[in-house]
Symmetry: C2
Subunit: 336 residues, 2 copies
């Protein structure tokens, strides 16, 4: 019961001494690498518990040239900083990392400012990186690739060597659009998509267009808007849409929320005057006055899957395969 005194953190050497073994034997017992007698391992584990030993990760890091951290590239532009997707995604990443003794380290990017990323790479603070929102120019992946930093991209990447984890946005958006075209088909179906800077919006566009093709219809270009990345553009788009569309699909939750606010200002009500659906759901839309029909998928699962892939790569389990996750479509009042 003298555990209260001598509170110095025990290290490999201490437990080796206590057992009359050498550091390396203890190290092997812990790592499970190399030959070791089962009984010895038992004794080591017991002792570890008794002395409450925890390895010093920094020393381990230096020796193994690994940090046991993965970087998470997150958009920090004020326009995106509040988007629920990234936060929820981070939840999944953190949880998955925790189950492998890894931790998630934040890397903020603003527009094309990759300073934080560059620093993290140069300071060797992470073993790998998850890119949560790839951009159209692939600059993030390019940087990562040139520095030989393993990475996984969430969403479609323009970069060739990327391992990708994504929701099937193309088919998802196609299905949602098809649904709209089937049931009580709108006369004039409009679309609003966010910045063309982000690859996900290209997938969404493709899905939308494919659904139209399937139906033998074609888009009314006057009411199909892409690259809506400012309130001004949105404003212009909405003023046309309210006149000429009877149903609008939005690229994501944030955009949809803005759209809904505009519609309300103009005295248009959903779904009576105009129906609305969204290609991404979040609490913004599920709790909206009129719950919004939307494509729904778990950002947390996406994050977890991305971590899982990255960790496999880092462990040499060469799983450089892409992962495509599912989705559901939730029909809510906004399109009834």
């Amino acid at each position: 019961m003298n555990t209260k005194a001598n509170q110095k953190k025990p290290q490999l050497e201490d437990i080796a001494a206590a057992l009359g073994l050498s550091k390396s034997t203890v190290s092997r017992a812990i790592s499970g690498k190399g030959r070791i007698r089962a009984e010895t391992r038992e004794r080591v584990f017991e002792c570890i518990k008794e002395l409450n030993y925890r390895p010093n990760m920094i020393a381990k890091s230096l020796s193994e040239q690994k940090t046991y951290n993965i970087g998470v590239v997150l958009p920090m532009d004020s326009s995106e900083a509040e988007a629920p997707f990234f936060q929820t995604c981070l939840t999944g990443i953190a949880k998955q990392c925790a189950s492998s003794d890894y931790n998630a380290l934040i890397i903020g990017t603003e527009r094309d400012d990759l300073a934080q990323l560059t620093n993290v790479i140069e300071n060797r603070k992470v073993d790998g990186v998850i890119v949560t929102r790839p951009t159209a120019d692939g600059s993030i992946e390019q940087l990562l690739d040139s520095r030989e930093m393993p990475f996984v991209v969430i969403g479609r990447s323009v970069h060739e060597n990327s391992v990708v984890v994504d929701t099937d946005h193309i088919n998802g958006c196609r299905d949602l659009t098809s649904y709209l075209l089937m049931n009580n088909p709108p006369e004039r179906l409009g679309l609003i998509l966010g910045s063309t800077e982000y690859t996900v919006n290209k997938s969404r566009y493709t899905g939308f267009m494919t659904a139209l093709l399937d139906k033998g219809a074609h888009a009314n270009n006057r009411i199909v808007f892409t690259g809506i990345d400012s309130e001004l553009k949105l404003s212009k788009a909405v003023s046309i849409l309210t006149e000429e569309a009877d149903c609008i699909v939005c690229g994501d939750d944030m955009l949809c929320m803005s759209l809904l606010a505009r519609l309300s200002e103009l005295g248009k009500s959903v779904p009576q005057d105009i129906r609305v659906a969204s290609f991404y759901d979040s609490v913004f839309l599920s709790r909206y006055t009129t719950p919004i029909t939307s494509l729904i998928f778990s950002a947390a699962e996406v994050g977890a899957a991305a971590s899982s892939q990255l960790l496999k790569i880092l462990n040499g389990e060469a799983s450089d395969e892409n992962v495509m996750l599912g989705y559901e479509i939730l029909i809510r009042r906004s399109t009834m």
Copy 2:
């Protein structure tokens, strides 16, 4: 121009050799500690640039027993995972850290599950911690304190030795409530606050009550609800509020959003039938159909201030003083 070949990362030794100096001298030149001739330092810096040297942070860590990481304790309960405050706050933290060669490492907590935090502490992955949402039992701070991990708390803490960075919620909520009581005073002012688990909600309650006291009024307890932490409780509260209140103040943006959805279901319109204000603003409310009057402050600034304080503490600049940040009140249509 032979920089392309020999792409091994240079280290202290290399630049020492190139200059005919010793590692220790170079180290001193970089750190600025100890005596060193100005000219020597110049030469070292030049060489560093030329060879594009970056110190190995892991080695530095081991030697200095520092990680150059700070942990950010973030709620990951599904109920909070989408709350904009934390994400925006993280933005500020990351930015501030980046400017000091530090990085932010995510620590998720769910309810009273402090497993991730415990692991991070035991694995010595961070030098200090920022707690973004202190709970009523002070368990996080207690753990941190017992492990002698420096930390800063965002929001009021029940723990004595905490350094606190906070918005002045008490006065903020008092001012907002006072405003409501002054201009076109409601007959029956209701309140809805979130979980009593979180200290911030206590501050808000205090502010609300103080405003009533100031006015010589007292609360109508039938329409003052605290501890609303589930849809069920909210539902019950709302059914009473719609009958008995003509103006409602909400604890935060998430709660307010839920309230607004309920009101809408019940056919009540804001502000005609009932006025609504919120003790915290976010994109949820500013872009709502009817923009909501609310207390507004910069989560990013809060995060930045917290990092800044923590970094000072870590640098021994013993700034264990609390920081209280300002706020504004934004009057919007919901209370007109």
